[in-house]
């Protein structure tokens, strides 16, 4: 039986980052996931920490923030680990479709409800939205595409909005994916560009739903900007996320090119543990169950949505290795009385507690599995959703876990 240096379980941004980092160091890597990871649902920008105000220097402020939050996953990676992982991520996206900061810190990206969200690295298709003003921007919605409500965006951004009909295309099945694939066709985006231009009244920027092509977003941007004579930007909307899909596709392409074995669509159903080490995992592809063995494993299965954590009526468990999960004492304490409140729901801080090496530990701090590391949102002591730090935690801990696994 083939034996791997590293098996990564989970295809979210943490798992993808870990697999790439390990492959670049020459390791023989298998990545296995039950489906496309959560990056295809929510991935748009790379957010590090929302509470650092725009205009502030990220390195200095985040370094101080980490010092004040010693249990946060960032405390394991430090700024140096975050910076290294951002570099690795950006190396996957050469020009023209790059991920960059606007200025030295966070910038504010318009969203699908017309709010602004603090983000760190923006894809080239979103930078023009930063600094938009009500008078210089027009928001374009598409009739029949219900997951982007242009009028909601323009109402709250206080700018002009129009809804365009797509000639010759019915409304049936008008999904983000279908639209993005149409945008990949030059003739389609040219017609859309013309339709937008006919509606403009001197605006310098055009905001569109984030559907500017699956495979060639930079070309789509170029066409639309040439026709409209304005800067064009994408606005994040309801899942699935086309910009996230681009990230996923780019990782998959790079991983396969680097010789990583990419096994998608089947869950890992069992892990065999002996004397503090994982010996093998079982991947279930009915009716076949296949066993895979590696020196090291990275558990990047996400939280509840990804299946990394599971909650029954009594408690929260980690279903694969049955690791202890840091969690509130009882179900009644998982969530607060109100949906929106200043502090995150206590359940968000639940997760796997690890040592400095990202190896899961028990309540006494003893390492439970010497060759298993946890990475990404499954880790305890973060509030990634409200904190706007999901991608940062994923890539920083994914990168670190791979590095530690290979140096062990």
């Amino acid at each position: 039986m083939k034996r791997w240096d590293l098996i990564v379980i989970g295809m979210g941004l943490a798992g993808l980052t870990a697999a790439k980092a390990a492959a670049e160091k020459g390791a023989k890597v298998l990545i296995v996931g039950r489906g496309m990871g959560s990056v295809t649902l929510f991935g748009n920008t790379i957010d590090l920490l929302g509470e650092i105000p725009p205009g502030k220097d990220m390195q200095g402020d985040l370094t101080r923030w980490i010092a004040a939050h010693p249990h946060h996953p960032y405390a394991k990676t430090g700024w140096a680990g975050i910076e290294a992982s951002l570099g690795a991520f950006r190396s996957l996206f050469p020009p023209p479709y790059t991920f960059d900061t606007v200025g030295s810190g966070n910038s504010l990206v318009p969203t699908g409800v017309g709010t602004l969200r603090p983000s760190y690295l923006l894809p080239a298709t979103m930078t023009a939205g930063v600094g938009m003003s009500p008078s210089d921007t027009i928001i374009v919605g598409l009739k029949g595409f219900k997951d982007f409500q242009g009028d909601t965006v323009s109402l709250h951004l206080q700018c002009r909005g129009v809804n365009l009909s797509l000639p010759r295309y019915g409304l049936e099945g008008l999904t983000a994916i279908a639209l993005a694939r149409l945008m990949d066709e030059e003739s389609f985006r040219e017609r859309l560009g013309e339709a937008i231009r006919s509606q403009m009244a001197g605006e310098k920027r055009v905001g569109l739903p984030a559907i500017l092509g699956v495979s060639a977003p930079a070309d789509v941007l170029k066409t639309l900007e040439a026709i409209t004579g304005a800067k064009v930007f994408e606005i994040p909307m309801l899942p699935p996320s086309i910009p996230g899909l681009r990230i996923f596709h780019r990782f998959r392409e790079a991983l396969i090119a680097q010789g990583v074995t990419f096994l998608m669509g089947n869950p890992v159903t069992a892990a065999k543990v002996k004397e503090g080490r994982c010996e093998e995992i079982t991947v279930h592809n009915p009716p076949i169950a296949t066993v895979f063995r590696a020196e090291n494993y990275i558990l990047a299965t996400g939280r509840f949505l990804g299946g990394g954590l599971w909650a029954d009526m009594e408690r929260i468990t980690e279903p694969l290795f049955h690791l202890p999960v840091f969690q509130p004492e009882s179900r009644g304490l998982w969530f607060r009385e109100r949906f929106f409140q200043p502090e995150a729901h206590p359940i968000h801080r639940a997760g796997i507690v690890t040592d400095e090496d990202l190896r899961p530990v028990d309540s006494e701090g003893r390492v439970l599995l010497r060759n298993v590391r946890a990475a990404g949102s499954i880790l305890a002591h973060h509030e990634a959703i409200e904190g706007h730090s999901s991608e940062g935690i994923d890539i920083a801990t994914g990168n670190l876990a791979a590095g530690r696994a290979l140096s062990s």
């Binding site: 649902l41 929510f42 748009n44 929302g50 509470e51 105000p53 725009p54 966070n106 504010l108 969203t111 699908g112 409800v113 017309g114 709010t115 602004l116 969200r117 603090p118 029949g144 219900k146 997951d147 409500q149 242009g150 009028d151 909601t152 109402l155 709250h156 951004l157 206080q158 809804n163 019915g170 409304l171 049936e172 099945g173 008008l174 994040p236 309801l238 899942p239 939280r303 509840f304 949505l305 599971w310 909650a311 029954d312 009526m313 009882s330 179900r331 009644g332 998982w334 969530f335 009385e337 109100r338 949906f339 929106f340 409140q341 200043p342 990634a384 959703i385 409200e386 706007h388 999901s390």
Partner: protein
């Protein structure tokens, strides 16, 4: 704006709407004020059970007789609000056979048809039942849609001259010596205050009865009992399933369209505006009812909710389940010496028509009119309309091609046309009014996706000013949704909640308004 009416009805539940219709059919004009939407109180927060009366047969024979009579009347006048499911009273080994014998005798005495079934027969009819059951009895229970029932009563009344003011709260009673001559009222959306003059004021506010009476310094003996319920993601049984044992908490499962409703609990409450379903109640209902249908333990729940039963209180009874579910019609003229004010409370959804009849009889008597009640024989306006799930899906088949597939709600198949039609009618005043009148947001995601789309449609139609601004409405909706969903967050529901939080708090950066992060919230 000051108004006048012959009879003023306070409360837009089944009782109030029923009285409005009964009076209208007798030619008496009325005006109804309701502080929220129709069925905001217990009428909209119950199990939707069309009682056969069997549940009360042993403990309260009179209530059982009332129920079966009203059951037959409602099947006649409101067939489009009813699903004729039948019901089973299931005996588990721990329930024994003694109660079952008593139960069968009591049902016979109350005039309720029963059909005893063997365990095998019961299991072939309802395969998800606990296979350990020792017997079952079939009774004519059913499922009823209270919202449609109330709206249909109001629609019929309105077509006969009755008037309705929703989102209008009574803020005081106007008194002239020993007479109530009207009320002070406030529009809760515009804030406009005005008076309504009326020689007769009917307090049909259910659990809120004492809040209205307090304006006149009066009070009646009433216990407030909270009942909590859980909605499943799938329909567990074809029929209503009851435990064949003395009435207790956690003993009934009512099918409702494509889902089932588990109930109930009974806990005293004092504060009518702040009560919630506790984790203990949820655990109890799941534990107790999984004895009847074991699959409940693995079932996904979409929502929990609670209603407050107004129970007219008799001295010396300690258990709320022993307090009569009967109703009380109180003439404050003869009881308290304050003429022109009547309170009708207690009772249950099943007897709303009877309560309305008795109230209208009283008003007629005082007005010196001799017009008989005809609500027991006069069908509601939509009574001929097909109303089953099949009818609804068939109608959709015709609607969806017309909209070219623009479904706002994928879970419950609500096309955009439905919303356009409601807005054209012009009666809705806030987001929740729209949600009450459609199946939007009632499915698995509980509005997580479709309300964003609905608000977009409203913004497109420039309705946002009427509805209070769209992101505020979105926040309010998510907060209201939270009340129902928080108690059932585990398993698959919890997974979905991570999705919803990731969208609204993560991706869209909606934050509590008091603590907007940099750039968060509205501009």
């Amino acid at each position: 704006m000051d108004l006048k009416t012959e009879v003023l009805i306070i409360g837009g539940g089944a009782t109030g709407a029923g009285i409005s219709r009964d009076l209208a059919l007798r030619g008496i004009p009325s005006l109804l004020v309701e502080k929220g939407d129709f069925t905001s109180g217990a009428s909209g927060r119950n199990q939707g059970l069309l009682h056969s009366g069997a549940r009360y047969a042993v403990s309260d024979l009179e209530a059982a007789k009332e129920c079966i009579i009203e059951n037959r009347i409602l099947r006649r006048i409101a067939p489009h609000c009813i699903e004729d499911t039948d019901g089973l009273f299931v005996s588990l080994p721990e329930d024994g056979t003694e109660y079952r014998a008593t139960f069968l005798r009591a049902c016979a005495e109350a005039g309720i048809d029963t059909l005893p079934l063997s365990p095998r027969e019961a299991l072939s009819m309802e395969p998800k039942l606990n296979p350990r059951l020792i017997g079952a009895v079939q009774v004519p229970d059913g499922a009823i849609d209270p919202f449609t029932l109330v709206v249909e009563n109001a629609r019929d009344a309105e077509s006969r001259g009755a008037r309705f003011l929703l989102h209008t709260e009574v803020t005081g009673l106007i008194r002239d010596g020993l007479r109530i001559t009207g009320v002070r009222a406030k529009d809760r959306i515009t804030g406009n205050e005005f008076t309504i003059a009326a020689p007769w004021v009917i307090n049909a506010t259910g659990a809120w009865a004492n809040q209205i009476l307090a304006f006149a310094g009066l009070t009646i003996g009433m216990a407030l009992s909270k009942g909590s319920m859980l909605i499943t993601n799938t329909r567990l049984s074809e029929r209503v399933i009851n435990r064949c044992r003395p009435p207790a908490s956690g003993d009934i499962i009512v099918p409702n369209d494509t889902v089932s409703i588990l109930g109930t609990t009974s806990l005293r409450v004092e504060d009518l505006e702040h009560y919630e379903v506790t984790p203990e109640e949820v655990s109890f209902l799941v534990e107790e009812l999984s004895k009847v249908i074991p699959a409940i333990r693995e079932e996904r729940f979409t929502r929990a909710y609670a209603g407050v039963r107004p129970l007219v209180q008799l001295a010396g009874v300690s258990d709320d389940r022993e307090i009569s579910r009967g109703f009380a019609l109180i003439d404050h003229g003869s009881v308290d010496g304050l003429t022109g004010l009547i309170t009708i409370t207690g009772g249950k959804l099943m007897t709303y028509r009877l309560m309305a009849e008795k109230t209208a009889d009283f008003i007629c008597e005082r007005l010196g009119l001799h017009v008989p009640c005809i609500t027991h024989s006069q069908p509601l306006p939509g009574a001929g309309r097909g109303h089953t799930l099949k009818d609804r899906l068939l109608r959709l088949r015709h609607q969806i091609p017309a909209s070219r597939g623009e479904l706002l709600c994928d879970c419950e198949l609500v096309p955009r046309e439905t919303i356009d039609a409601i807005l054209r009618e012009g009666k809705v005043r806030e987001l929740q009014d729209i949600l009450h009148r459609t199946r939007l947001a009632k499915g698995t995601c509980q509005g997580g996706f479709c309300v964003y789309r609905l608000l977009g449609v409203l913004n497109e139609m420039r309705k946002e000013t009427v509805l209070g601004g769209s992101n505020r409405a979105l926040r309010d909706f998510l907060e209201e949704r939270w009340k129902g969903i928080r108690p059932v967050l585990w398993g698959t529901s919890l997974k979905e909640e991570e999705l919803i939080e990731s969208i609204y708090k993560g991706l869209f950066n909606l934050a509590p308004e008091a603590t907007l992060p940099p750039g968060g919230g509205d501009l």
